[in-house]
Symmetry: C2
Subunit: 307 residues, 2 copies
């Protein structure tokens, strides 16, 4: 199944304890698409400005990503600047220049009409819902959101959650969205808002998928995948999108979608997220070999597997 991904393409200026980059190619659609491209055909819908060159597009094309849905608008591409301190848990934003992204109205090319899986990257929930309506052939919708939308557009977000099959967010977002500081109760409240499955990302501690009763098969319990403890994190920007790309990319590559597939997908999400943080932007992610992915998947499996 091919994936249609909607989100941002951005130029990021990032400072971490280990280095600095200016105008590095980033954005949720970029990180997601590159990660997912190792598993399936990916089609992107996004907007860029005059400063988005053939070289930038080449990074995506080199991974076989269909870029016909990337709209060129007059002006500059979305820019974000931020920095991480020693523990890498949270970025401090230096600046946000929305530029052409401010008036982004996603348009789905006709050629994308047969896509079966949709990823709604972290954009305004009303735009997410509009994209969903424009893609009638979609069989599974995965989506992301963030604190900003939870705080400023909650009614719109709650509408959009009704059309999301799988929501991928982090601990803080799950607690904020549900208003509950207990993770299990928070997951139940979020699942009651619409999604059939909820993936909560715990950063360096891995991730958990919670299922709505009866969704994707039977089973009483959530499922947890680890991450690999890494001796050096270079840049966590985009790790969440890379996680989503590995997770949904693996799902798209499977014949059937059931709990066992979602469990393995959670491991692949962790694998792609762990590669993402090993270099700035998508540098590490865009130059992987499939064998490296399988090798790390096995390490992740060994990390929690009892004989």
């Amino acid at each position: 199944m091919s994936i249609l991904a909607v989100g941002s393409v951005a130029f990021d200026t990032i400072t971490t304890p280990t280095g600095h980059v200016d105008n590095e190619l980033g954005g949720s659609a970029t990180h997601f698409s590159i990660a997912a491209s190792y598993f399936t055909q990916v089609r992107v819908v996004a907007v860029v400005g005059d400063d988005f060159t053939a070289e930038h597009e080449g990074v995506l094309k080199a991974r076989g990503i269909d870029t016909r849905g990337i709209e060129r608008a007059p002006g500059k591409t979305f820019r974000w600047g931020g920095r991480y301190t020693e523990n890498f848990n949270e970025a401090k934003t230096d600046f946000t220049e929305l530029n052409v992204f401010e008036k982004f109205q996603p348009r789905i090319p006709k050629e994308y009409g047969d896509s079966k899986l949709l990823f709604l990257g972290n954009i305004h929930p009303t735009l997410q819902a509009a994209v969903r309506r424009d893609c009638p052939n979609i069989q599974l919708v995965g989506g992301d959101t963030m604190n900003y939308w939870i705080q400023s557009t909650l009614p719109e977000l709650r509408e959009t959650l009704k059309v999301m099959d799988i929501l991928l967010i982090n601990d803080g977002e799950a607690k904020m969205l549900s208003g509950d500081s207990n993770l299990l109760r928070a997951s139940q409240k979020v699942l009651a808002m619409g999604p059939k499955a909820l993936v909560i990302k715990h950063g360096e501690y891995g991730s958990t998928v919670f299922f709505r009763e009866g969704a994707f098969g039977v089973g009483r319990h959530p499922f947890r995948a680890p991450t690999l403890p890494l001796s050096e994190v270079i840049d966590p920007t985009g790790a969440g999108d890379a996680f989503a790309g590995g997770f949904l990319g693996y799902i798209a590559s499977q014949e059937v979608i059931n709990r066992e597939v979602l469990k393995r997908a959670l491991f692949y999400g962790g694998v792609m997220g762990s590669f993402a943080v090993e270099d700035f932007g998508s540098r590490r992610l865009s130059k992987l070999k499939r064998e490296e992915i399988e090798e790390r998947f096995e390490i992740f499996r060994e990390l929690t597997h009892l004989e």
Copy 2:
């Protein structure tokens, strides 16, 4: 193998968002011993005051715990008061009355001399080292410590770490002890101080065991065990000691001690910790059936097990 456990017996006054208890039987030796008692014979060394009644001792005896090493001293038993806020991650201490614990000099009864596994609960590192010297027949030493000892008695603690085979601490303690905020690097630095294995507890995210190269067999990687997301935490006091009790208790019950045993032990640690938080003090822990433990072990396994 029987376990000899040294630590505190205390009366805890605890306030959580869900309730309050006064003078609840607690302390590291109590929680540890009760958890470990489901797996093996446990012998306790601790000190109590005149206020420690036959009823209190009965809680331990009911679990078959050998209490001959609990010394009665004139005065009151160690008392601690504290409270937890909504997220349960950290206790705020209301008061600490060391009482008879202040002059605690652990004495090992002759009858305990054939113990093979020693647990050094969270007491002054110099006392921990003295106990180790008094137990020449011990084959494996597990131990705990806390921020207070890392900050105020680091040289003594570093001496004691040389005689510990397995150190069990949490993320914050590992980072403080190593001076490194990266968990993998922190683990390597702590292992270089002496322990053959380091168990780092991540609270609601489970735990990881790191091995010194070649210790307990071969293998390149750490191992991670989950915890069960619980819908209600009643009281986290003693969960770390219950974890240690499950972990070392399971190890003591095995014929050989290798990495595979330590991995399963990590799961049993998580299982006992998850029971501990379900009620105040050791109330839940002291009334378990072995079948409940095995049932939860299977749930933990399913939580991370891929087909």
